[in-house]
């Protein structure tokens, strides 16, 4: 049995509880609260005189709180860690195995870094969406679409929530960015519009906007109060999804938190063609038209929030080869457009609105340093 090479250890609340530490496997995201004597145990120091080792069960599936909630998966305040377990060396050994802190066979351990075979597969770790889907199905017993709506929008689904980072980062940015990009009378298509909240923001700028989404429940929600926008259910997987839209007829196509599914499909068994999508975008845009993309930032999305809240840091465990992440690296994202006659004409990495300080200081500190979204503007530069 060996100490796993993928673990980090850091103080839980160093000022108030200097003897409470966090052990984390950065790939499996298993966590355990420990007393410093457990570090001695792991270092192989003489342990015969020690009779007990303190541990706290601090792991929690923090993603259930929302896509932008603290993704660190542990109970952060060491003062609320609950009851301590005083363990023998033998029972500690078993617990550390269970938490992937100690491993027997590195090959078998690495083999678990694979896609889940199904939502009921507990052996393979899968990616973020698979882990979330499993949790929603087996623990929360709620549908992914219901959960997604609730964590992003107010209860009437007409506004982006202000009490989490969707409001502080995305909504705040959109309120500034959309008026700079979209003008009165322009023809706009919102691809993958969900319940249409952003589509309606676009309509309020005087644009003639159509929102399309494959989820008919989302479209029904959007149509309850269309606020000048039009909505249609369309199967965007189909190559003919936009076939009735005349060529070179649109000023702007907008896509937000939807393009990622063309690179890392929501359901692995149903991959989508980004090439077909980009060809259709190119066909329906006017020669002067633009494609606006607002997607999770390729570098820092969903990484644990570590360190002091005034100077947060994170651990980047992967970038080019997605195991955990659900969005493409920058080159893949942009190349899909650049090789099809587009150029990047604007780029912004989103930061958080400082007024969020009052709501969640730690979340604001992280989002001020590490952008959660990337906004890109593509323009057509040649006719191929």
């Amino acid at each position: 049995m060996k100490v796993c090479p993928d673990i980090i250890c850091f103080p839980g609340s160093p000022e108030a509880y200097p003897d409470r530490w966090v052990l984390m496997n950065v790939f499996t995201r298993d966590c355990l609260g420990i007393g410093p004597e457990v570090i001695e145990f792991l270092s192989g120091a003489e342990i015969s005189r020690k009779s007990t080792y303190r541990t706290w069960e601090i792991w929690r599936f923090s993603h259930k709180d929302g896509l932008l909630a603290d993704p660190s998966r542990f109970c952060r305040d060491a003062g609320s860690w609950g009851e301590v377990s005083n363990m023998t060396g033998e029972s500690l050994h078993e617990l550390l195995k269970e938490k992937c802190i100690l491993i027997e066979d590195k090959k078998k351990y690495r083999a678990r870094f694979s896609p889940k075979k199904s939502l009921l597969d507990t052996e393979n770790l899968g990616n973020y969406h698979e882990q979330l889907g499993q949790h929603l199905l087996t623990i929360e017993r709620t549908s992914p679409s219901h959960w997604w709506l609730a964590q992003k929008f107010n209860s009437d689904r007409q506004e982006i929530r202000d009490d989490n980072l969707y409001g502080a980062v995305q909504k705040s940015f959109l309120m500034d960015w959309l008026p700079r990009k979209i003008k009165n009378g322009q023809k706009v298509l919102d691809l993958g519009c969900g319940p249409g909240v952003i589509t309606k923001m676009i309509a309020q700028l005087g644009a003639n906007v159509l929102g399309v989404d494959p989820n008919k429940d989302f479209i029904e929600l959007a149509q309850k109060e269309p606020k000048g926008a039009r909505f249609e259910t369309r199967n965007l997987d189909s190559p003919n999804a936009l076939a009735d839209i005349p060529s070179h007829s649109l000023d702007i196509i907008f896509m937000s938190d939807a393009l990622l599914f063309y690179f890392v499909p929501y359901q692995r068994e149903k991959p989508l063609s980004v090439q077909s999508l980009v060809e259709e975008i190119r066909r329906v845009l006017k020669p002067s038209g633009i494609f606006l993309s607002l997607e999770p930032h390729p570098v820092f999305f969903l990484l644990p929030w570590l360190g002091d809240s005034d100077h947060p840091f994170t651990v980047v465990t992967e970038y080019l080869n997605a195991q955990w992440r659900i969005n493409p690296p920058l080159q893949k994202l942009t190349t899909a457009f650049l090789k099809n006659g587009f150029m990047i004409s604007d780029l912004e990495e989103l930061s958080a609105n400082p007024i969020f300080q009052k709501v969640d200081h730690k979340a604001l500190a992280f989002a001020k340093e590490f952008p959660l979204w990337l906004a890109l503007e593509f323009r057509l530069f040649c006719n191929r």
Binding site: D121, T138, K270
Partner: protein, 83 residues
Amino acid sequence: MHTKDIVLKFFDEKGGIPGDGLQEKLDCHYLDIKIIDSMGIIEMVTLFEDSFKIRFEAEHLQSEEFQTVGGLIELIDRLQSKK
């Protein structure tokens, strides 16, 4: 209609469980043969809970028993008998 018939009918409608004899079908790990996708699992859980007036807990859904046709039938019968 017995539990077995309802469960087998569900899988028949999804394309059917391969195998000649009943035992072969009952031993089948239905997730491995990809006749239902991730959304299909959610649909299946909801359907069986509603049809049999039972509730699967997380430990049931994550059990090995849940992953074979025969195990699933036995689990449903057991949950029904506890009502």
